[in-house]
């Protein structure tokens, strides 16, 4: 019999190109301690720990649950580590949620992190070889295809880049703080992977994000309103096979359908108040709006262009500043889930979406083949707009 799962504590580090002031242990403890503080629980209250991060070669530390367990007070407890490429932060949150939903564990700490400044992300993404195309080089051709399919004007990507960086100025944790960013500056920034400009691309960050999850009984003791986990879904497809659509992957469509069905959502565009989508390169905002059935094909860029995805728009996307403003790969998916929870708890401060009650947290990874998403709400039984 499934237990309910609620997010009762969230904690993040300040994201930066290099967190020169901390060790790996210091980095993860910073996020974990904030989450524990936010939840008003102590280390001893945790029944299990679930950590997640992207490839170990990013830091050169193999199976880090082994060397980090002491720092997370996991000695004597179950701890395991999820690895699903870029989607890992959300996969990890989902793995932790199922520990609670199963009834096996009551209070679980979940954490995603990356300390990219210890190594080099482009090197790691290229398998350690010369000529790495990085993540941007992999996605740029698919972005070109989307632009061709949809007929979108070239400025749409630049608009996303400006929106997310200006949102980030309201987020004290964000890595990039660019109050002076403009469309012109994005357009004039160098082309890294044609057609993506430098300022349309995510940074490389150090950082960690953590949440304390618990069941309904534990949630009664939470000092702040909990964010209830309403539904979660994951889907995976092969990276390459004959006829694969990399621009609107079937796994992304299937994942969204499964998620909405479990959540009882029939009209995501109307019934979801805010979305934290994994947008590491600007054009992925319109691509995921379409790819996850929030709008029709070829309409995603119009939503962006019309300003609907602004903080005060009809469908705010990435009010936190998103992956475009902070990208510690192992943490980024967790941050999306955490920021969605923050919105429905009303704790998003300067970038709070007014009246947000239902939020989507999302991540993708690999060759746009891994998808992990969750819906959180302020009400354990949300009543959606326009539902029967």
């Amino acid at each position: 019999m499934a237990e309910r799962c609620a997010v009762v504590g969230i904690g993040q580090t300040k994201y930066a190109r290099r967190r020169g002031d901390v060790s790996l242990e210091g980095l993860v403890r910073e996020a974990a301690l904030r989450a524990l503080e936010d939840a008003h629980v102590g280390w001893q209250d945790l029944d299990a720990i679930v950590i997640g991060k992207a490839p170990d070669a990013l830091e050169g530390v193999m199976m880090p649950e082994l060397s980090l367990c002491d720092a997370l007070f996991a000695v004597g407890k179950p701890i395991h580590r999820v690895h699903t490429a870029g989607s890992v932060g959300a996969s990890t949150a989902i793995s932790a949620a199922t520990l609670v939903e199963s009834g096996r564990y009551q209070t679980v700490l979940t954490l995603g992190y990356e300390k990219q400044s210890d190594g080099n992300a482009t090197w790691a993404l290229g398998g350690g070889r010369s000529g790495s195309q990085g993540a941007g080089g992999s996605f740029a051709p698919w972005i070109r295809n989307y632009i061709q399919r949809s007929g979108a004007p070239e400025h749409v990507g630049w608009k996303v880049a400006v929106k997310d960086r200006l949102n980030a100025c309201k987020n004290p944790y964000a890595h990039l703080q660019m109050p002076d960013i403009t469309i012109e500056k994005v357009k004039e920034s160098p082309l890294l992977w044609d057609p993506l400009h430098f300022l349309e691309s995510c940074p490389s960050s150090d950082g960690a994000a953590a949440m304390v999850l618990t069941n309904a009984e534990g949630a009664k003791r939470a000092p702040r309103p909990p964010a209830w986990v309403i539904a979660h879904a994951k889907r995976t497809e092969f990276s390459q096979f004959p006829g694969r659509d990399t621009v609107k992957p079937a796994a992304g469509v299937d994942c969204a359908k499964a998620l909405y069905q479990k959540a009882g959502i029939t009209n995501p565009r109307k019934q979801i108040d805010v979305a934290e989508l994994y947008v590491p390169f600007s054009w992925y905002e319109p691509m995921w709006l379409e790819g996850h059935l929030i709008c029709e094909e070829n309409e995603g860029w119009k939503m962006t262009d019309a300003g609907e995805t602004e903080l005060d728009g009809a469908f705010p996307v990435n009010p936190s500043g998103g992956v475009l403003s902070s990208n510690a790969i192992g943490a980024s998916g967790m941050i999306r889930c955490l920021e969605a929870a923050s919105q429905v708890r009303g704790t998003a401060g300067a970038y709070q979406v007014d009246g947000a009650k239902v939020a989507l947290g999302h991540a993708y990874g690999g060759a746009a083949q891994y998808f992990a998403m969750w819906i959180v709400a302020s009400d354990p039984e949300p009543r959606y707009r326009g539902s029967r």
Binding site: D56, A57, S67, K77, E101
Partner: protein
């Protein structure tokens, strides 16, 4: 554990452990997945959740695990996940996931090829990156420290280590999946020179490639899929401190905690398959588990006879399950370990209907 749903292993598959497979890991997993589906007559779409364990660093490629998806099948898209750990921890996650109650069938795998790299150079990266990894502190050396601690404490003799090896390698003669199987006397073993004293080369596991997979299902569904379900009565895992200087290497507190968690002695144990990668580990584990002297340990030969890293723990589960299905045991214990000197331990109690 009785408030949890009954979950059973309904089919198992493993490759023999080999020094080197020319096939890719994904190819091995493809074969095993096909085997499991054929045995249960299930289409791929009937598997609700798939989860694998593997390690990128063994293969030497960041994101190496992505290729393994080819082995399980992911078209149409599937619900799946991955842990950078032995497949036994993937089994744990699958068991937990099925307890949520909305899905019934899961496929779990573990795989690894140790042949391309030099494990003794790779595994130091599991240790503290500031204090230990730059010393190249490898698991063989740490096992040597554990072995000496046991000798110093009077808890074991070198002869005891050799006895574990001799028994394991002899038992492996009956295991078609073992890599190293031979009849060798304790005296002959003791005559060999030290490698990481007091350990000798034979006290170490072989270097192996291999893969393993199981299909599990909830109660009613399990009975539909096999007439010999092997019930997972309990599963638990715990971890000890990473800091060797804070540990008593002669004991395994995390194993003791996990043992309490699964109720190891809630019933008779007919067999135990333990992740004995270094012979002294058997002594530590037997003590921590409070095993009776007459409980058969590692009739498969254990990891000393074949060590497909990232599958080894899942293979222990499979060996116990197979023994139960064949009628050779009613209730058995499977153990998986991760990290230097048995830092992390997982236990699983399996039982016939």
């Amino acid at each position: 554990m009785s408030r949890f749903d009954e979950i059973a292993i309904v089919a198992t598959a493993q490759t023999p452990a080999r020094r080197r497979y020319p096939d890719s890991e994904a190819s091995l997993l493809l074969d095993l997945t096909n085997q499991l589906l054929a045995e249960t007559r299930l289409p791929r779409s009937a598997v609700d959740f798939t989860i694998a364990g593997s390690c990128d660093y063994l293969s030497g490629l960041p994101f190496a695990f992505v290729s393994n998806v080819d082995g399980f099948g992911a078209w149409p898209p599937v619900y799946e996940s991955h842990v950078e750990m032995d497949g036994a921890w993937a089994l744990f996650e699958a068991w937990v996931r099925l307890q949520v109650g909305d899905i019934d069938v899961a496929l779990i795998a573990g795989s690894g090829k140790s042949s391309p790299g030099t494990p003794r150079e790779i595994f130091p990266l599991q240790t503290d990156p500031y204090y230990a990894a730059p010393l190249g502190l490898d698991p063989v050396s740490v096992a040597g420290l554990q072995a000496r601690a046991l000798l110093d404490a009077g808890l074991a003799t070198e002869r005891d280590f050799a006895a574990v090896v001799a028994r394991s390698r002899r038992a492996a003669l009956t295991n078609p999946n073992a890599q190293v199987a031979k009849d060798v006397s304790i005296e002959a073993l003791l005559a060999e020179p030290y490698f990481a004293s007091p350990l000798r080369k034979h006290d170490l596991p072989p270097i192996s490639d291999g893969a393993a997979a199981v299909l599990i299902a909830r109660g009613k569904r399990a009975r539909e899929l096999t007439d010999k379900p092997v019930w997972i009565r309990a599963i638990d895992h715990r971890i000890d401190s990473h800091h060797l200087g804070l540990r008593d290497l002669t004991d395994s507190p995390s194993t003791r905690l996990a043992a309490r968690g699964v109720g190891v002695h809630a019933g008779p144990l007919d067999v135990a398959e333990l992740c004995v990668r270094y012979s002294p580990e058997e002594i530590v584990l037997r003590r921590a588990l409070e095993l009776k002297d007459d409980t058969p340990v590692n009739p498969s030969g254990g990891p000393l006879s074949g060590h497909p890293v990232m599958a080894t723990g899942l293979v222990r589960v499979i060996e116990v399950a197979n023994r139960i299905r064949a009628g050779g045991a009613r209730r058995g214990l499977a153990h998986a370990a991760s990290g230097p000197a048995l830092q992390q331990n997982l236990l699983c109690i399996l039982e016939a209907a």
